[in-house]
């Protein structure tokens, strides 16, 4: 039996050594408790918003429920990736959502100015952090759902004053926005494979490519910003009271 004990201890020691040698996953997990406790990164105070001040990979480990009017996550670093991991970032929404027989829509939201996920400095326009990646989950009930210089994939946004606000240099793919006043603003960007439903304005844009986009129920489908570089529409289906304004170019 002593030999058996020695063998067991030796095996455990080997396992421990292997665990020590294995690279540690530095992905930072965020759930409701971590958000309320603060300290997710330096300068992150207790409660919302969660401030991400270090580049790296962050991952939700549960839904986040945010008091009305506050932001959920503010990013204050370049090169941040947030994996929503299938979870939802939500705040109580105050949106009145209606559609008309003319394929139009009227959506009035009084959600305040909070961001679901935003980049700190955007509002003042002074400090602009860059290159935020968000994927794989849901955002609901904010003034702006997701904002910044973005790479988005597999994301749904609902019940926001502005669903997605993408600054120049953004790439949005496989996204949907519903029941919001403005679906997407995208400047100098790509919006590829997107659906927008029940929005007053589907996509406000300049200098962008919009491809494989479907819009259903909107007062205006695609609004080209006047005086700016044109946007191109490709493989789009727009069912709206006014399909386009400001003459974006239809490729096909």
């Amino acid at each position: 039996m002593q030999t058996l004990r020695f063998a067991t201890v030796a095996a455990l020691a080997l396992l421990a050594a292997a665990a020590d040698a294995a690279p540690a996953d530095t992905t930072i997990l965020i759930d409701q408790a971590a958000a309320l406790a603060g300290g997710v990164t330096p300068n992150d105070t207790t409660g919302f918003p969660v401030t991400l001040s270090k580049p790296g990979h962050y991952k939700l480990a549960g839904n986040l429920t945010v008091p009305a009017g506050l932001s959920a996550i503010l990013v204050a670093a370049d090169d941040v990736t947030i994996d929503l991991n299938g979870f939802t970032v939500a705040s109580p929404s105050q949106c009145a959502v209606g559609t008309g027989s003319d394929l139009g829509a009227k959506v009035v939201c009084q959600n305040g100015e909070g961001y679901g996920i935003g980049m700190q400095g955007n509002r003042a326009g002074s400090t602009s952090y860059s290159r935020l990646t968000v994927r794989n989950g849901h955002v609901r009930g904010f003034g702006t759902g997701i904002a910044g210089q973005l790479q988005l994939s597999d994301v749904t946004v609902k019940l926001c004053s502005t669903g997605i606000s993408a600054s120049e240099g953004s790439l949005l793919g496989r996204v949907s926005v519903a029941d919001s006043t403005l679906g997407i603003s995208a400047y100098g960007s790509i919006v590829e494979t997107a659906t927008l439903s029940v929005v007053e304005t589907g996509i406000r844009t300049y200098g962008s490519l919009l491809a494989r986009v479907a819009i259903r129920f909107a007062a205006t489908g695609v609004a080209q910003v006047t005086g700016k570089s044109a946007s191109g529409l490709r493989n789009t289906l727009i069912n709206a009271k006014l399909p386009t304004s400001g003459n974006p170019v239809l490729f096909d």
């Binding site: 063998a7 580049p55 990646t133 191109g232 490729f251």
Partner: protein
């Protein structure tokens, strides 16, 4: 001893059963500590899957990761591989002036065409002279502050990549580039014999360049906002250059 042997046999049988039921994940994990221990550049010389578990900050002047085998997949896992290069870029109208300095020579690279093929995905590269280079399938990447973002050898496929604040975005010869976003770059894409499909260039001195008169370029369904939207011959397909048909 009989009891001891029986216990060992039972343990071995259990282990074999467990091994049969749950195949071991042979993904090789990489973090800053293992990279520092191995030294830069890391050399991936076996086929298989490699995955970052942290950002990698590469010492000045060093290359990051060299691929020396075929059939390597490198998942950046949302992290960043970073050197110290910086590109100063400014947009004026639809044009951009970009000046790059510093940085290690290569981020993730295959030095010789015979060395291998690479699937590179899901993360960020920043601050190298050549951020990614070789025969590759690249997807879901953000590259910035690169003298050249991606140098893609013939047969490469690039999808959902964005290259920001860089000297040249993509050099792709005999390659397919789809859903690529280039912003504040000197030259967006330099290519021959390639398909450029669903691309946006916003802010560039030169959007799409076909430099050598080799193999035609199919430019399709793209938006090019640049001082000179396209140069060279052989580009076909409906695209938008500074608000007009190319």
């Amino acid at each position: 001893m009989n009891t001891f042997h029986a216990l060992i046999a039972l343990a071995a049988a259990t282990a074999l059963q467990a091994a049969a039921a749950t195949p071991a994940d042979t993904t090789v994990l990489i973090d800053q500590a293992t990279a520092n221990a191995a030294g830069f550049p890391l050399k991936l010389n076996q086929p298989g899957q490699y995955k970052l578990m942290s950002n990698l900050v590469v010492p000045a002047g060093k290359n990051a990761i060299q691929v020396l085998s075929s059939d390597v997949t490198l998942d950046l896992n949302g992290f960043t591989i970073q050197s110290d290069g910086v590109c100063a870029g400014a947009i004026s109208g639809v044009s951009a002036v970009v000046s790059c300095s510093g940085g290690g020579a290569y981020g993730v690279y295959i030095q010789s065409p015979t060395d291998g093929t690479l699937a590179l995905r899901n993360g960020h590269l920043r601050g190298f002279q050549y951020c990614a280079a070789g025969s590759m399938q690249a997807s879901d990447l953000t590259l910035s502050h690169c003298m050249t973002g991606i140098t893609a050898a013939e047969g490469s496929l690039l999808e959902r990549v964005r290259i920001l604040n860089s000297g040249t975005g993509i050099v792709a010869n005999g390659a397919s580039v789809r859903a690529a976003l280039l912003w504040t770059v000197g030259t967006g894409i330099q290519t021959y014999g390639g398909l450029i499909d669903g691309v946006t260039v916003h802010g560039a001195s030169l959007g799409i360049e076909h430099p050598y008169g080799l193999g035609g370029v199919r430019l399709r369904g793209s938006v090019i906002n640049a001082a000179v939207p396209t140069s060279g011959l052989g580009m076909t397909g409906y695209s938008l250059c500074n608000g007009a048909t190319c």
